[in-house]
Each structure stands twice: as C-alpha cells, then as structure tokens.
C-alpha cells in the first residue's frame, strides 16, 4: 500500500517549502518556520484526537492517554508503535522511537543531526494537539542523538 510513503513525501515537501526561499534564514526566520510546522501538526493532532478513540474511552488518567499516543496514534500515523515510554510519574514522559519513519530515509548514524529538528517539528505539534483535545495542556520537545532514533519529551502542565 502506498499510504505510508504518501505522507512521508508530503511531509518532506512541507519542510522543503518552508526552507526553500531562504535556505539559511537565521535564527528569527528558522523559529518562525518551526512554529508553522508545529501549528500544522497541532491542528492535525486536534482532529486525530477527536477521531481516533472511536470506541475506547478508557482514559482514566494521564498514563492511559500516553499509552494511547504511543500505540494507537503512532500506528495510525506511522504504522508502527512507539518503542519505549518512560515517566517520572510527575507529569514528564519520554517517548522513544528507535527508527522514526520520517528520519529513516535520511541517514543512519550521526550525519544530519543538526537538520533533524525541522523534520520533527510537525510531530511535536501532532502530539501536543492530540493531548489538547483529550484535555491536557502540554509542552513537547525533541532530542536526537543519532538518526533515526529520536526522543519526544512530553511535559504535562498542571492547570
């Protein structure tokens, strides 16, 4: 099925388009492009958060919601589950994906580590948006040490 690739191509083009006019925009421009990608991801996440949990409403607590993100959301968007989920039980969660599909075609190892954040901004927004529909305000950041593995750190903000 060509579904997986379609989204990957679309995503690659989105990033390329935002960076095309000014290949090296400097800190201000870069931040703007990153936040554009994040807001796109946020809106998509909001819609998915409404649409995906069709019958399963068993979200009693945060941990259930995070498990939903790691399993159902990741499977729906990337056709694989998140590799590991760690928490400090105080609102901070680290989601680790050892072969993130959007980074796999790029490199394997330390090459292009500086370029990786732009390809992860959309996904950060996606996680943030889904959490917001399900009722949690959060802050999502990423860190990449070696492609294609990446970590998403989710901090749930207490109201």
């Amino acid at each position: 099925m060509a579904d997986k690739v379609l989204f990957e191509f679309l995503h690659t083009e989105m990033v390329a388009e935002l960076w095309a006019p000014h290949p090296d925009p400097g800190p201000g421009g870069q931040k703007r492009s990153l936040s554009i990608l994040e807001s796109i991801g946020f809106r998509v996440g909001q819609a998915l958060g409404e649409r995906l949990p069709q019958e399963t409403l068993g979200f009693r607590e945060e941990l259930d919601v995070l498990k939903f993100l790691c399993k159902d959301l990741w499977v729906a968007v990337f056709h694989k589950q998140m590799d590991s989920l760690r928490t400090n039980h105080q609102g901070t969660y680290v989601l680790q994906d050892n072969s993130f599909p959007l980074l796999v075609p790029m490199a394997s190892g330390l090459q292009y580590v500086e370029e990786a954040p732009k390809f992860l901004a959309f996904t950060c927004g996606l996680l943030c948006g889904t959490l917001s529909t399900l009722g949690f305000q959060s802050l999502v950041t990423t860190s990449v040490t070696s492609l294609p593995a990446c970590k998403f750190q989710v901090v749930i903000r207490k109201p």
Binding site: R43, Q46, A47, G49, E50, R51, L52, P53, Q54, E55, T56, L57, G58, F59, R60, T133, L134, G135
Partner: protein, 142 residues
Amino acid sequence: MSGSFYFVIVGQQDNLVFEMEFLPAGKAESKNGYRHLNQFIAHAALDLVDENMLENCSNNMYLKTVDKFNEWFVSAFVTAGHMRFLMLHDIRREDEIKNFFTDVYDLYIKFAMNPFYEPNSPIRSNAFERKVQCLGKKHLLS
C-alpha cells in the same frame, strides 16, 4: 405518541457549541418564557455527566439518562475529546436517542476534520444544521 426534544452540544469549557429543538408537528415553538429553562437544565446536568464519567469506568460513550428535572429527562453522550452531547426529552426513548447520538457523533467528527473549524467554537453551518434536523426527524419524531 411523540414528544419534544432539545439537543445541545457542550464544549470542553462548558461552553455552548450547538443547540437545536425538535418539536412534533402541531406543537408551536415552546413559549418564550421557557426556552431559557432548557439551557439551564442542560447546564445543571453537566455536573452529573462529569460525575458519571469519573465513577463509571466504562468505555461507553453513551451514558443513558443522567438526570431528571420535573418532567424532563436528560440523556448524555460524551466523546473522546470531552465534548458532551445532551438531550432533554419528556418521554423515554433510549434506543432512538442512542442512534441519534451515534449519527450526530459521526457528523460531528467529519465537521471537526474541517481545518477552518476551530475546535470548541460554536458551530455555525447551515449544512450541519440541516443534517441534524434530518437526523432528528428520522430518529426522534417518527
């Protein structure tokens, strides 16, 4: 025998997103003095809906009848995004209301996919209103 129904969608901050009345043919619009009462009853039922959600660890979205006020019953349906669909009705019609909720839920999801719609904001769309009216006629007033 057919009764009157008042349907409302409430957002995450207890804000009104959509409301619609279904009255059987022949009954004129409810007297102006009592229309605000419907909103009041629905709002008061929200607490019970939340309580129901917290204690009832079921996976069901449909919560059946949650509250009763004078002659009005309140049934509720909660979506994953914590949007609440409330129905005020004066006769018991559980199956029809459940089917109505399911259909409106499908409709709502499709509507929420629209990138121009801000989640939690009031729904102002003629197409949506017409469809909900059709669903209401089909399930509730037949």
